[in-house]
């Protein structure tokens, strides 16, 4: 046999053995596979569960967007638990991918405000557990931008090359719907065409579109290269802590947007009780506070939110100003057809 294939055959043998070991390992009883977003696999975000179940083996698969998470779950991901954001609740229920949550077994459930619980309900049944949440609004540098009253500042050519919009079609359509007063759940073809043209004209005003908050947006906000941005409050808190640029977070007249992260248990899971405990422990004090202090995102445990004393975080979440929440628009559910139309629209905007 040629010399080259002898080590090759050995490799093949090792590979076959590893496959067998891996296959058996995957069906052990105290293992959980979580389909998570990049960064959330850090132990800080499930530390209470880890303390309560030190022998449990939790591993993570990464999903890169809500569409990606749905796609993987639809195509047979082995995940026991998955994490996604508001607007997508109906899809998992319709596809039979999610199992109801038995809230009687959750020890932290009573600390969750009713409005958050409601977001996790579909057809009257509690399918999802709310966890992280935040605002979307306009972040701006007060040295260069005196005041922001409306979302349409993103289209203001006074700030050309210092604007940054999030690289997301549905996000762009949402902004257009706020500015023009359209019904987000019933965007017509004519309205979509108008939005498309406006965003094509807006493209040149951006320094670039941003995709990842901490890698893309925050450094350039702090260095003063970006003066106006569609942003979540994470970079706001980050900039306040950093202090090198004077940054403010607007409350536009059309209202801010708010999003909530939800966890669901796969209908195919073999470890329902363990998964339920994992979800419960997500709301535990330390885990929840870590989301607040490490990512600057809100957490659904109201006690944790009430206990915040850091002035930067109080400012970032607008805790002292109840009028903010009153004018906030929550992300509504959107149909598959609409979402496809909006993402294709964005593909045309980017290619122009």
């Amino acid at each position: 046999m040629p010399a080259r294939s002898r080590p090759f055959r050995q490799c093949l043998a090792i590979v076959a053995v590893s496959l067998v070991i891996l296959a058996t390992a995957c069906s052990a009883p105290n293992k959980l596979l979580v389909l998570e977003w990049s960064g959330y696999e850090a132990e800080d975000f499930w530390t209470d569960f880890k303390t309560a179940n030190p022998e449990a083996a939790v591993t993570f698969e990464i999903g890169s967007s809500d569409a990606d998470v749905l796609g993987k779950m639809e195509q047979g991901s082995q995940a026991d638990i998955f994490h996604f954001y508001t607007g997508w609740q109906q899809f998992y229920v319709d596809a039979g991918l999610v199992k109801e949550i038995d809230t009687s077994k959750l020890t932290n459930w009573d600390k969750v405000p009713e409005s958050f619980k409601a977001l996790g309900r579909v057809d009257g049944k509690q399918y999802y557990l709310p966890w992280d949440w935040g605002f979307t609004s306009i972040l701006y540098n007060t040295d260069h931008v005196p005041e922001v009253t409306s979302w349409d500042i993103l289209f203001d050519d006074t700030y050309a090359e210092h604007i940054s919009m999030w690289d997301d079609g549905p996000g762009a359509v949402t902004v257009s719907s706020y500015i023009h007063g359209w019904d987000e759940e019933a965007i017509t073809d004519a309205q979509l065409a108008q939005a498309e043209q406006e965003w094509k004209d807006q493209k040149a005003l951006n320094l670039h579109y941003w995709t990842d908050e901490y890698a893309d947006l925050c450094p350039e906000v702090k260095s003063g290269d970006i003066w106006v941005a569609y942003a979540w409050q994470g970079c706001y808190a980050d900039a306040l802590y950093d202090g090198s640029q004077p940054i403010a977070y607007a409350t536009p007249v059309e209202g801010r947007n708010s999003w909530v992260g939800l966890y669901g248990i796969s209908s195919k899971t073999a470890n329902y009780d363990l998964a339920l405990e994992f979800l419960d422990m997500k709301l535990a004090t330390l885990t929840c506070s870590n989301a607040v202090t490490l990512f600057y995102y809100g957490c659904a445990n109201q006690e944790v939110m009430d206990a915040i004393e850091d002035p930067v975080l109080i400012e970032a979440f607008g805790i002292d100003d109840p009028s903010i929440i009153e004018s906030t628009n929550f992300t509504p559910p959107v149909t598959d057809a609409q979402r496809t139309a909006w993402t294709e629209m964005w593909g045309r905007v980017k290619a122009e």
């Binding site: 990049s38 901490y214 890698a215 260095s223 990512f295």
Partner: protein, 272 residues
């Protein structure tokens, strides 16, 4: 008419005799390649969590934290294992393809060549999704192994092209001579061809290793619960304070890779 008669100096005919400062060109290229690395190394000792000037002070804290972070070390180890397996597979297969295509005539010869180069045309994400679906159909659990398999495919064209370029320039008469002396073909390959293509094998292996090591699109779809280093890195970037630790790890990995490949090269030349 001989060169002597035309006044051409014999010693001026050589390979590599040009007036171009080749060494300088190489050094300049190296400088450009290492500039961001040097910058990263500088920041890895900088007492600041953001990448900016002015520098704030020397510290070894970040390197200390690397050793304290089991998840980081595990991700680095995962990538090293995956890249080694993928590179070895791709190089071995690339060598097999090159020899088969250049030294034999058989039906399907051109097809093999085209197939070996074809993964270049397909975007990683397409291959990732398709392999993901395929593994699902056949119930193959996703793991570092499936990532390595995917990587071996995308690295194969690079290994093949490098080895093809080398072997096309080797005279088959050398191999024929060895066989005339009684060697079997496998022995001929091992003792005549392999030593001659040594540096190209190294180049092919290293290229395949690099293609695998920093690859994210396939890893996102084909990995099970264990992250590779670039996937892990991307996740950690969300933590403002972790950046220098990640940079320290990247610098360590690069230094380690240089040392290991220099050692491997030493062993290779020793055994010749």
């Amino acid at each position: 008419m001989t060169a002597g008669m035309r006044g051409v100096r014999r010693d001026a005919i050589g390979v590599g005799h040009t007036r171009l400062p080749l060494g300088l060109i190489y050094a300049a290229m190296l400088a450009f390649l290492y500039l961001p690395i040097v910058l990263l190394a500088v920041f890895s000792f900088n007492a600041n969590t953001s990448l900016s000037f002015p520098l704030r002070g020397f510290t070894l804290d970040w390197y200390g934290q690397v050793l304290d972070d089991p998840a980081l070390l595990a991700a680095a180890r995962n990538s090293l294992v995956v890249a080694t397996v993928a590179a070895t597979a791709a190089t071995a297969l690339g060598f097999a393809v090159s020899v088969a295509v250049l030294r034999f005539r058989f039906a399907g010869r051109r097809l093999l060549l085209a197939l070996a180069a074809a993964p270049l045309v397909v975007p990683f994400v397409v291959l990732g999704v398709a392999l993901f679906l395929l593994f699902n159909i056949f119930g193959v659990p996703r793991s570092l192994l499936t990532v390595a398999l995917g990587h071996s495919i995308v690295a194969l064209p690079y290994a093949s092209l490098i080895l093809l370029s080398r072997i096309v320039g080797l005279d088959p008469a050398l191999e024929d001579a060895a066989m005339d002396l009684g060697a079997s073909y496998p022995t001929t390959l091992r003792r005549v061809l392999l030593p001659l293509v040594g540096p190209s094998l190294l180049a092919a292996w290293l290229t395949s290793f690099i293609v695998s090591f920093d690859e994210v699109a396939l890893a996102n779809f084909l990995a099970g619960g264990d992250p590779t280093f670039p996937v892990f890195l991307y996740g950690q970037l969300r933590f403002a304070g972790r950046l220098p630790v990640l940079i320290a790890m990247a610098v360590l990995l690069m230094t380690g890779t240089i040392i290991l490949t220099l050692i491997a090269n030493r062993l290779r030349t020793r055994s010749q």
